[in-house]
Symmetry: C2
Subunit: 213 residues, 2 copies
């Protein structure tokens, strides 16, 4: 059964959801049953109005005075960001960054299941990283199609990133998570997220400069 | 000579600066001399008003009709984000992610100079990664103080991140770039940027779920 397409939501709100979720899971471990926006906001040191608006996006409604029933809230947030249904992904570029991501255990809890890595280095092809096979990049399009993979993660260098993206698209991949520090030229209907470390670096540098220390 | 503290600027604007800078450097390679906001906005496929506002933050003023003199604009943006003056940094956690960051050549162009890595694994201490020494983590506070290091990068696992952050603070580090997927408890005056991959992952999952494909 296929649900109807969900309505769009502001990206900053979506981006905050994992933080809520981490806090909610911790509270569940502490056997908390009901939780209010104000309490959650205090724990996370953010504005309660923001929390209320964000949580409302998930479609859940709280009870006056007591707030939300914790298991329901967790389910609503997970469903909202699609983490109730983990998604298989392919990663291309089994260098240090790729290896780090392949071995990152947190992804499974975050709705992402990297099922294989790809590389064109013959010394890497045929090996495994964190129990995941490293396959020949040339096999990606065919495998992606057969396995209905929708998410591709790019951890190659800037020079090869566009070629890898094209390879992914030819295999039917519709969402690309790009760690290469280069802009990609992709059709508009492709979901693209750039993990741009230079942006964060700029924020740190600027804050250091502005701190006048 | 010490400049007076710069006024604060909106984080999203600061975060966009590296994108502008990349484009501006590419244009300089193409021997472009003058550039308008509209042209830059078109190249980057963003709103010209946004570009104008962002660039105005750097203090530069364009000339009517011709726009900005490219070398001046590059200098203004670099100065604004503090990249005219590269900053030395220490990294703790010489695993795969740490190794990837130590070897990332782009940082030097982005105002960051990682001068050493630290770890407490005796098999790593004493080795080098990308020509940078891996030192015993216990030596960090003393070295950080003597070398006046202000930026610390955390690439250890979630369990050790807080202890590493405390170690950095004891060495006088004032800005922390945290790649560990865990919130850190730090004094308010510490500059903290969390590289939270789960946030991006939520955006991708949500967009895939909402696309109804």
């Amino acid at each position: 059964m296929k649900d109807k397409p969900l309505r769009s939501a502001p990206t900053p709100s979506v981006r905050r959801m994992p933080r809520y979720l981490r806090c909610l899971h911790a509270l569940r471990s502490d056997r908390v049953e009901w939780i209010s926006c104000t309490f959650l906001a205090e724990r996370l040191n953010v504005d309660p109005t923001l929390v209320r608006k964000d949580l409302a996006l998930t479609g859940i409604t709280g009870k006056p005075k007591v707030g939300y029933y914790l298991p329901d809230l967790i389910m609503a947030v997970e469903r909202f960001i699609g983490w109730d249904n983990p998604e298989d992904a392919f990663l291309v570029g089994a260098g240090h960054l790729g290896t780090a991501l392949l071995g990152f255990e947190g992804f499974a809890r975050h709705g992402l299941n990297i099922v294989a890595g790809f590389d064109n280095d013959p010394t890497k092809v045929g090996t495994t990283v964190a129990d995941k096979p490293i396959l020949d990049a040339a096999k990606l399009p065919d495998l992606a199609q057969r396995m209905h993979i929708r998410i591709g993660i790019i951890t190659v260098g800037a020079r090869n990133a566009q070629a890898v993206a094209d390879l992914m698209l030819s295999g039917g991949i519709t969402a690309i998570w790009n760690f290469a520090p280069v802009p990609l030229d992709l059709p508009e209907d492709v979901i693209l997220e750039n993990e741009d470390l230079s942006g964060t670096l700029a924020v740190i540098s600027r804050r250091l400069a502005a701190s006048g220390i």
